[in-house]
Symmetry: C2
């Protein structure tokens, strides 16, 4: 677990307005409502939920999610898995391919350690070579039979990782089953691009295509006589569709926890719970010039890969346009004829365009109870997997 510096620890119990800028702040009430809605959604649809910890990278948040019913957590990197495991998280799925022997040795050690404490590690594969190397690593650390769950990733339209659906997936499952230390656990079938299609009907249609590919693959497994214990995938954007499919046993949404500006721009699917913004970059006006105000949060404080942050909760007559001011600045212009600009020293709250890489810029998340403006700092979360790239 990462440590919390004294200056931040001293904030606990203090008024939220004491938080210095820029800082990443969680509205704990909103986050907890999001968690509750997700738990209810999963229960109603009879699916397990394994939220993606690549979003928050925090062991304590992962444990909160488990208390609410999450069956475990996804991660993308071995180092993320190690960071969460160190923080007490026991059930982890590396939903990504790992091929370097050095990393696979760490995977094997982690699988053994989690197994030894009653937990479980799973991993995705999409190549024979990846399977052979993984098996070798588990042998090298003298792991038990079936010490790790291995899922075959199929390419369901993202055109990134994954073998093509159908017989290629069956062949990889056979290769997994031929390795005594590997347990074939199912299919990873996630379409990242579909999450961000703006219309609910577009997302429904994209997942209908995904389901065709998944079902074709299921058929090939039937023909081969290989049981498919699990099909897993889905994100915050499309999960209503996978959950309703009757095919997916687990869903993997992450962003529902915090909701970013990009997901909020999606047309709401009536089948989906309403998730609230729960993560903010608190920022302060540090300079005021002719027709502009400059705040102290640039793209070292919030990721801009999915668009600029949105200003939160300003009345219409105070509408502002946020312009990228570089690494350390945001430039604010009046967005309408009122010409209103915030004064020097004023506080603003930004909703990040994309929460995952935004959290990865910060070492801590400051949890506030009772609202951003009048609330109190309740706890500080360490971003345990920050920078966990390998």
């Amino acid at each position: 677990m990462k440590s919390i510096p004294e200056s931040l620890r001293a904030l606990v119990g203090q008024a939220a307005r004491r938080i210095d800028t820029p800082a990443l702040v969680i509205d704990l009430d909103a986050m907890e409502r999001n968690i509750e809605r997700m738990a209810r959604f999963a229960q109603q649809h009879g699916v397990l939920w394994r939220p993606h910890a690549k979003l928050h990278k925090s062991a304590h948040i992962a444990l909160l999610l488990e208390q609410a019913g999450a069956c475990g957590h996804c991660v993308q990197k071995v180092a993320e898995a190690e960071a969460l495991a160190e923080g007490g998280v026991n059930n982890l799925f590396i939903s990504n391919e790992i091929v370097s022997p050095a990393k696979l040795e760490r995977v094997a050690r982690l699988a053994k350690a989690l197994h030894g404490r009653g937990g479980r590690l799973a991993i995705a594969v999409d190549s024979e070579q990846g399977i052979a190397r993984l098996a070798q690593a588990l042998q090298d650390v003298h792991a038990n039979r079936g010490a790790i769950d291995v899922l075959v990733e199929i390419n369901v339209g993202q055109n990134r990782c994954g073998v093509e659906p159908g017989t290629a997936a069956v062949e990889l499952a056979r290769a997994i089953q031929a390795q005594p230390r590997l347990h074939f656990a199912g299919l990873q079938a996630y379409h990242g691009g579909a999450q961000h299609l703006r219309k609910a009907s577009e997302r429904r249609e994209a997942i209908a295509q995904v389901l065709k590919l998944v079902n074709r693959t299921r058929h090939e497994f039937d023909v081969a006589g290989i049981a498919l214990p699990l099909i897993t995938g889905a994100g915050t954007g499309t999960m209503v569709n996978e959950a309703a499919s009757g095919v997916y046993g687990e869903i993997q949404p992450g962003s529902f926890l915090f909701m970013d500006a990009d997901y909020a721009a999606n047309e709401h699917d009536p089948a989906q719970p309403v998730f609230e913004h729960a993560l903010y970059v608190k920022t302060q006006v540090m300079s005021v010039g002719q027709g502009r105000a400059v705040c102290d949060a640039g793209h070292k404080a919030h990721a801009i890969d999915s668009g600029l942050p949105r200003l939160h909760a300003l009345p219409p007559e105070q509408a502002l346009r946020f312009e990228n001011g570089g690494d350390e600045h945001g430039v604010l212009h009046p967005a309408n004829a009122s010409g209103w600009l915030p004064a020097l020293g004023e506080t603003l709250w930004l909703i990040p365009g994309h929460c995952d890489p935004t959290v990865n810029l910060h070492d801590h998340l400051i949890g506030v109870r009772g609202g951003r403006l009048k609330g109190v700092v309740e706890r500080i979360f360490t971003v345990d997997g920050r920078g966990a790239l390998t």
Copy 2:
């Protein structure tokens, strides 16, 4: 100083090919040549160079630059200044505005501490309120007279921070001089946008405009009878112009140290030393599919605000197109008819689009001597100011 984990420490003395991916790797030979060329350039032009540490955020790299003749370092954030000071750097300029009393208290303490050990802190201002609060903070910590150098930032075309050139700057200088603990030290006159104009003639023209504004301001200072000890500014893109102006006493380039893909896309100005790429993201192919290979570096490993990374040093028949694959992936496509794709497990080297925010994603920089491919890991630098946002 941040710590170096044992796994990285063990790399020192090992072959560079042992570096796990993704990782940020410095070609030390190239970096040292860049430093040498910068030192010679500054000497030839009779200017001091105060490189911008917002790039590397590393105390040890700052000390290397000082050994080569740098007169001190710029930073953008108080926390960056604190991190470098803790690592032994004594002469720092916060080239940015700070207005929150909590941060100004830290500024005052740092000014006092650096002064106490024979160093010096400087800071930029662009408002009366900022000056008054800074003075108050220095009084609160019982700092000596003139304990901090204060530079008035003027807006020379960036339209971000800074007062308008001319009399407004004189008024702020008077406000500084009225405060016994503040020492008026000159003008900060930096045009960030001009750095990235592609044609050398466009950059020359932009800095000619900057110089008009600077000279108009100098004239107003003459009229007011206030001496201007220093004019400072300039980045890697335009420094040949400011250095040749006879007006700038210091230049502040940072990126020359590592050179990113964006700066390399600038037309080379014959007056400028040739700076080499010295910073790479080492990445590995983790999946190969139909017409694509996927590497393990996404935009959590390299910043994409100034464009995608460029693939380094592949022969023409192996040209690849890098597509953004999200937070953790890069997707590679053949860039020509050869259709060549790297094999699973193969290593690739990316030149970041923008080095500053790329370094800020990493906790360590791995220094390699003797080339990326056949060299040896010589030392690990901690990114002491990583995430230093406040």
